[in-house]
Amino acid sequence: MLQTLLQVALTGATMGCIYALVALGFTLTIAAAGVVNFAYSEWVTYGAYIGVTLVAVLGLPLWLGLLLTVMLCAVLGYGFQLVVFAPLEGKHFLTTVSATIGVALAMQAAATLIWGPYALTLPTFFGSGSLTIGGVALFPHSLLIVGMTVVLIAAMQLALTRTDIGLRLQAAAQDPVAARLMGIPIRRMRTLAYCLSAALAGLAGFMVAPLFVVTTTMGFGLMLKGFAATIVGGWGSLKGAVLGGLAVGLIEAFGAAYLSSEYKDSIAFAMIVVVLLLRPSGLFPERIAEKF
């Protein structure tokens, strides 16, 4: 009984961390530029595929593969800034959303052409074995995901609040007009946000790949969970994205274990609906000073 409970909690926490990573990157562009990026799914997918290519095809060591994947994804984010976000800045949100949907479709189809229609796999750092402690199966890779997420979030928090560039990024996000008057280069700050966002997506894709298989649609499902985390946590709040991701992961795992696994995929959607109807500001909203 307790073992099952722990097992489910661990599964939920692992997925929650993945969702948190996904939601974090997704929220970054919302916070920095007010942009909802429907191509985020493809950033995650490409992260996994680039990882597979580097590790399984080119034979690079995993750690190097991870590093290069994250860097290549950051470049991808920069490319998006050039062809999608910068030209459409200030346009109606439907325009940006449609543009990202279009590019996402093209990228997904291109992935099928490049990597084929069949599922690929990525090895873990620790092989496929699992430890058993007190009747609870522990996958070392899951622990790595949890640990990595915690370290990463702590690092981001520090970078945003303690470093000069982090403070500028925050200023640019909160009040672009005032920040511009203070001489902060808004465009460059937004570019940084897109690159960071894509790097996080790539990291999430690379890390989640060994848990499942790599397919052209893997990113889409994760992005939907990222939506849910963003809504549950509070729109545009980085802290909310992390807590929301954990909440979605845990509720989904417990719902699947104790209610019905058939409806597992609807749980995240139901959470979006319920939270938006009852508490549109999310469960963990960031306090933003009310402006007169």
């Binding site: 949100f93 279009g102 093209a106 729109w235």
Partner: protein, 309 residues
Amino acid sequence: MRIGAGLLLLAVLLPLFIGNNYQLGIAHQALILILLASGYNLLLGFTGLVSFGHIALFAIGAYTSAILVVSYGLPFAVGLLAAALLTGVAGVLIAIPALRIKGHYLTLLTLALGEVIRLAIRGMESLTHGAAGFTGIPRPSVLGFTFRSGTELYYLLLACVVLGVLFIARLERSRFGRAFKAIRDGETAAEVCGVDTAAMKVLAFGLSAVFAGVAGGLYAHTMRFISPEFFSLSLTITLLAMVLIGGRGTVLGPVVGAVLLTVLPEWLRFVKDYYLIVFGLAIWACTMFLPQGLMGLAASVVARVRRPA
């Protein structure tokens, strides 16, 4: 007006040039999607409300008619009417939270609602036959006449499309059309000008849902088979692209968009895997270079010709 009449003439004569049932089937699909996209345009193009759950209403319409006609033996006309009513009610129910929720929130709420409805349809196996799909739906029949041949069915669908497009054209020139566009261009200003924005939004949701319901009912009886997989997010994206590429907020935009995006994949069969890449990039290019869509482009060309520099 003249473009519309020209398109209608083409549409009436089209079966004379269509050789086989396969091509006629494509034409059926295009007509149903015109109806669906035109209704979606009421919401997206006229009123500026970005819903990503519209396909769920289409699904509700299709399943309502299929269940009533097949499982309960009711006539087609009753099934279609019930589909229109039930989706209309569903549309109004979605509109109520939409009054408080705006922009991105509304988009994500409707996306989630749409998926919940689709998964619920899949889950209610005793009623909908679940993931296996609903088979054996009869062809439409009205007052003892069954639209059995492809050509007969074509003209039934065309009649529905003509009525639907005329409905929207008339609505556009009334206080309702003006109110919808005013909400799109400035909600607070519209409200202060005396437009009951809440009532108008509910109306826009309700009417666009009725269009989806009728289109869904017609789809079920045309294809004779429906399954939850068909009503997925990718159809939502196709629908969005039809309205955007055709020209949102214009009467004929969705008509042009729906025809184009139904026929093009057939013509471009030889490029197969590349089609989706082209399609995706076309949506992107449209947002960059053709923000008002093809009909918007046509309107500005006409304006330039009439007023030479």
